[in-house]
Structures are given as structure tokens and as C-alpha cells.
Amino acid sequence: MAKIIIDSQEIECRDGVTALQAAIEAGWDVPHYCYHPGLSVVASCRLCLMEMKMPHPQTKEMGWAPKLLPSCQTPAREGMEIRFNTEKVKKNQENCMEFFLLNHPLDCPVCDQAGECHLQDYSYKFGKAESRMVDQKLKNPKKDIGPRTLLYSDRCVMCTRCVRFTQEVSGTHELSIVNRGSRVEIDVFPGLPLDNPLQGNVVDICPVGCLLDKDFLFQRRVWELKRGESVCPGCARGCSISIDHVDEKVYRLKPRFNPKVNDWWMCDEGRFGYEYIHDKKRISSPLVRRGLEQTTPNWEDVPAVLRYRFEQFVKAQGGAKVVAVLSPFMANEEAWLLAKFIRDVAPEASLAIGPVPYEGDDQIFPAKASGDGIKFTILKEKAPNRKGIESLLESLGGSTLTCEQFVEKAGAGEFMAAWVVGGYPKPWVDKDTAKLAGKFDLLVAQDIFENEFTTKADIVLPACAWAEREGSFTNADGLSQPFHWAIVPPDGARRDGQYLFEIAGETGLFSAARVREMMAASVPNLSQVYESQRKPAHAH
């Protein structure tokens, strides 16, 4: 901890940070565009300039330096004295804002960024009300730079964050700077569009409306969106994300700062992997089959029906023939509740983990980086909670099976009653697994989409997408992170946690935190979760 003085106030800052970062973390609102804590410093926007006390070159006496210095570039040193509240600093901020807006089209009414635009915020807070420029504005072109991204270079403030991102984080170097002076533009090379698995981040780090996401373009005004804090279920890495939604519809996913996992970034696969939530083909109500007869039970009756059916089965054929397949898409709390129910009705029942989807290889960014040079990783394991389920099975003990063992034993007819949980966004039942569906006397299928299991199941329960659920995922590094529901499930469906809570014999409303308390005795390692805080406050 170094002590520095900002505007005559002494504050403590973390070691190794810049003066700008120290000021922001201590609560100062210092305008900045080019500075981003995850990227190198270029000090080119000149908005964060400050006054600093320095020794006089001849007399060595400490005094305010006549030159304004960039706070983003100056390291915070013990005893250093800086100030932002002077006329000179404020005048520079005001002038910079005037310069930024000289050629800006001021098309906020049709701009997606409006509402979360730092050009708007800073103009309001630090800028002038009027521009003195009467001449024609320079109009740089709007460009389609990739399959998912547009670049409106007339709105650009040349912070070059996006260029540095492609150089330093994704390591793909698609973006570059062309031309000179005020005609300077960000551009891609001919025939080489911005198309890398992390490209969506350039839209996030763009402080203005220059880089736009085609997926979100003209969909909603950002001030209408509500923000839910969640964890990405796309792979086993568990990046912290926020779900921007309104009217029970998800509009976009954005990364949330998490120093333990994803820093400021997320991949496109996670970012755009939410469309299945709003798929019309989702199962949205429970179903009970008796022979050819199908009924939709009331949710209130479901726990009793299930308990009765399982108890009858155990009485007739014995508890050892019961198995529950826990999907790696389930939250720890849901999996625990289901396991509790199964072991309740049949203490000798087996618990198995469902199939874990893998795609390709782990991808690291920048490619070929190692050690601290790795800025981002996308894992090949495309399920959020394998580690959590495995850990749960290990803690609960008894008869536990891997996926392969389950397929083998079920194929041999060792199990006659099964509860199979899916919840995969993509079809997951392969040929071998599909053959199992007809082998059970009692089959409960809990899934999002129709498949071989749900069509043959005696009881079908609708599963919810992660954006509608609550719980915690344990990522590949063993870190358990909580996620919260953002939207409500489709009409007729209920949150998995809620009905599993009731099926497990509890009453009242399901809350993940409450279940974690209940889990503490049997599964202590999953009952503690890490939630990334927005502290220390970081630059935008």
C-alpha cells in the first residue's frame, strides 16, 4: 500500500497501480478513454491529465509542475502529490470534450450506445454545452468489419482500445489504424475481417458507439435493460457475466469483471450462446404418461406423484435398481436436492453424472502464449458444472457412477427406474444412449428440449435455462460461483430448483443460499461460493 495525496486528501492505493487507477479506486471520477486496466497504456486521449508536484529542475524545490501530466501513465509512488480540481485540469477536460465532438455526428437518437456512452457522460459532466465549430464536419465512413461487428468510424474517438485488444489479448491483429490527422480511422485489412472467438469484447471496451454488435443493433435502448448477474454456462471456465434483459427476454450478455476467472472478457461462443432460451420448441409443462394416456398434472401434485411412483417401484423391485443421472448443466444445489430425494426413497440407489460434451481443443489467447502471457482461455469442456457434480457424488458416497459406467450398466438392464436430467442447449442423446430410453420401468426425464428420453418417459419435467435458474456452478479450477435468475421461465414451467426443493420434501420458496446452508453438513466444499465484487472499482 502506497500513500498518495490527491486534491489534498491522503489516500492509500494498491501497489503498482497508476495514478489514474488509484484516483478512480478512491472515488474520483477522472475522465479517460484510452486507458483500460486490461490493456497497455498509450496515453493518447489526453483527458486524464493532472497536475503533479515535482522537484524544480534547478532549485530541487518541490512545486506544481507547469506541464499537465497523463495520470494513466504515471505510476502512483509513495508520497506523491497530484491534483485534479484545478482550473487548468478542468479547462483541459473541457477543451478535449470540445475537440472530441468537433467531427462527431451527434446521432445519439439512433445510436445503440446512447445511455451507456462515455462521450455523453463526459460531455455532460466535463464538457461545454455548445461547439464553436461552424464548418462542415468530416464524415468518416461506416464499415462492416466482420460477421458480427460494425464500425461507425464517424463516432470514433481514437482511443485505440479495440486495436490494442486484438494485439494484446486475442493476439489476432485484425484491426489497425489507417490515415493521419483527423481522417485517422480504425480499419481491417482487405479480405481479413474481424472474426476471432473474442471479437465481441471490442464492442464492450469501445467507450463510444463506434463499434456495434449486429446482434444487438437497434434491438433495445440500453436504459430499458435490466441487468442480472450470472455465470456463463458455455464452458467449464465459468466467466462472470451479466444478463441484459427486459420483458422476460434476454437481449445480450456482457462480461463482468472477475479477477479470478475472466478479467474483463468473455468469448463469442458464450456471448451469443443464449438464443436457445427463447426457442419455441422448449418443453414448458410437466407431463405424466399412463399407457397411452397423457395428463398434465398440477405443479402442486407433482412431488406427491413422484414420491408415490418411486416408493411403489422400490417396494416392488428394490432400491438398488434406481439410478439418477445428474447433468453437468445442473447447479450444485439442484443436484443436491435431487440426490437427496433419490437417496431418501432408495438409500442404495446409484447416482451417475450425465455425458459431458467436448468440442475441439482448449483455445488460449493470445495463441501460443504461456504462463502469465495467457489472457483468456476457452475450454473444450462445454458444460459449466462437471466438477461440481463430480465433487457432489464424491461427497455423498454410496453407489456413484461415471457416465460410461451408467451406459454400460443400464444397457445390461441393471437399472429399472431412472431419473435422467438433461438441460443441454444442444441435442445430447447419441445413438447408444438413445437405446437406453426404453429399458426402464419407471423413467423421469427432466429436460429443455424433446428427445428420446422425454418421448418415452413416464414423467416429463421441464428444465429451465440457466438464465431462469439460481444456484452455483463449480468451474474447471474448482471455484464455485453463484448465479442468479434474470428472467422467469416460460409459461407453465417452474424453476428446477423450486420443484426439486418441493420434491425433496422441503416447503416454501427455494433459495440457493438456503440450500447451500443445508448442504454444508454433507457437502461442505460446495457450500462456499466466491462472488466477484465490483471492488476494487475499475475503470470502464
Partner: protein, 435 residues
Amino acid sequence: MAAFEPVLLRNRGVEGSTTLKVYESRGGYQAVRKALKQTPDEIVAEVKKANLRGRGGAGFPAGVKWGFLPKDRKKTLLCVNGDESEPPTFCNRVLMEHDPHQLIEGTIIAAYAVQAQTVYIYLRGEFHEQFHIVQKAVDQAYAAGYLGKKIFGSDFSIEMYLHRGAGAYVCGEETGLIESLEGKRGWPRIKPPFPAIEGAFRLPTVVNNVETLSCVPHIIERGADWFTGIGPAHSAGPKLFCISGPVKRPGCYEGAMDITVRELIEREDMGGGMIDGKHVKAVFPGGCSMGILSADELDMKLDFDDPRNFGLLGLGTAAAVVIPHDMDMRVVLRNMARFYGTESCGQCTQCREGTAWMHKIATRIAADAGRPEDLDVLLETARNMGMMPGLSICGLPDGATFPIETTVKKFRSELEEYILAQPKGRAEYLLRVLN
């Protein structure tokens, strides 16, 4: 006044002056032989004692610059700044065209002094002919064993490369030059670290101007005392002056830094006075970036310190361009603004937007659509862009604002007359048409 005996230009006009043979026959490559018998520190001390101030524009003492290098460095680079792109300046060009071996000799001595075994000569892209001349001279020096391994039989080895820029004003700034040399976009770097600590390819780097290095052999050969004996104490040594515009003898001349602008224009062995009975209205005495002088300020001394007394940025490149009495100052203003508007690199906000805005205003004034308040806007924009001390990464905006500010301040009445003489309502009409 005693005629100045040329030092840097002594080989100009001699037949075959670019060849090694002629250069050696006139006493060339003796200084480097002498230098290699001394220790590097002795040479640095000698150059420091001579107070050789950088000829590139800023006037920073070369010896002091060399002293900034870290003591425990393993590898050092020397870059020769031949990106001479200040508008009316052509002294480096003359030196390279007529006496490339003098530059090579000075470079070898400087490289030995800072123990740099790799030297890059960075030439601006437009120097086609000069590139071939210097390349030929370098080849001759290699053939003679003056460059390469164990030069002149000593233990010191040196490799020299020529690098041609792509034609950007900002690459004359030392860190812009270094970026360009590395093959990147010529955007000046943030300092610290300064090039002496971490420059090209992350190695300690010294960047010196062509003319500065051309002075070095003479300092070594004749001693620091001889050098400081030329001109005033704070601006010692011979200096090249360029003069262009409607004078009788436009060109590059050498002299001590004790002459005035008037002498540069009038002296028979220099400018030779104005042509066709024109008289001086204004002069940019040190390259455009330094600012303008009005006709009654011609007694300004062309040394490193006096220009400050006249509201100028400094001596700059000591390249004067004379503006005759019949020139419209609005055109001068527009011309200056256009240059910086197109040459700003686009990195820092103030410079990127400010230069372009000033160009727009100046263009409009020149097109008879000026408004009286435009002059104030110009002055304020210039100040907002940062003038000594600057607000940007490099010094380009300082250089961009001084000519505009001094022109508007010193010729305000003339510009206002033009604006008031515009037909009534024309400015508003043209504004509508232009927009």
C-alpha cells in the same frame, strides 16, 4: 565583417566531393583515426565541452544526450535522423548530397563515443537521390574498411544501415522515427522511458540529427575550444542557414550563429536581398513551426536563445522563408494550417482535432467567408492544443500552433481588414453553401 570560412560546407562545389578519394584528399577520416585512439568517455567529454547543441530543432546538447545512456548497457543503437521534413528546410539534404562522408565520419565517431555497434541512418522517403548518394558512400566506406568489423585496425566494429521512411513529418520526432524504424506506424511514443533507456527494439538508443553529427569530426579534429570560439557562447559552432522565398540567392549558407535575419536576407554572400524591388513583409526564420516575424523584427539574432524574445518557439532548423509585401497573409495562414492538418499523426486528441479545425477556419477565411470572431477562435484553439508546455505526447502541436498564433497576433489588423472587406453577408452565405 570577415568572411566565414566554411566548415560543414567546405567540400561543397569541389568536384567529386561525394567520393571517398576526394574527401580523404581534403583531410577526411583523420578525425575518426584520432578519435579511435581516445576513450569513448574522452570523446563524450570533448563534445560536452564544445556545447554542441542539437541542430534538429530543439537545441538539446548532444554530449548531454549521450550521457543519459545507462552505464551497464550491453547493446546500444545510434540512429541518424535524416527525416528532414520541416517545410522550408534543406540543410541535411545539402550535407548528404555534397559531403556524405563527413556524415559517415561523424557517425562513426559518435557511435564509438556511445559504443553503438549498429547505426541506422533514417532518411525521409522523398530523399531518392540522396539515398543513393549516401548508400554509395557507405559502400565505399565498407570497401575501405572504415565500416564493418574492426574498423581502422581498432577493436571497434560497426554496422551501418540506411532506412527510408514513408514520408511523414512526425517521423522526424525521435520516438516517431524509432517506431517507423521498427516497421510500425510512425506514432510518437510516450515518455518515459526515453530512447536513451529504451528506444528502438527496446535497446538504449541515441538519435542525432545529420547536421549535429556532421559537426562532430571537426570538434574532434580541431578541439572544443575552436568550436566554442565560433559564435556566441550559448550557440557555439558553425550552423547551416537555409533561405527561400523571393530573394536573389535562395539556398543553404553556413555561418556562425551571430547573424540576424536581416543579414541572412540582405548579405551578398547569403540571400543577396529581395528580387524585383519586393520588400519583406514577414519571415518564418526557423522553419515554419517556430512562428513568424514581422518586417520590423528582422534584427532577431539567429541563435538558440534570441527567438524566444520575439514570441517564437526557438531557432528550429534555421531555415528562413521570406514572405514578400504583396502576399496575402490569409494564404500564408491557410498554407501553414493545411500542412499541420495533414501531418498530425492522429494520436493525441488536441493535435488531431485542433490542427484540422484550424485548417478549416483558415481555409474559410482565405475563401472570403471569415468571421471576425474566427481569429479569436483560432487563437484559443491554438492555446487549447497546448503550447509550451504542450499537452500531447510529442512536440508537433507546439509547432503547429506557433505559426498560427504568431501570424494571427502579428498580422491581425491585416486579416481583420480582409474579413471586413468581404461583401456583407457573404460569410453567412458561404457558410450555408459550404455546409
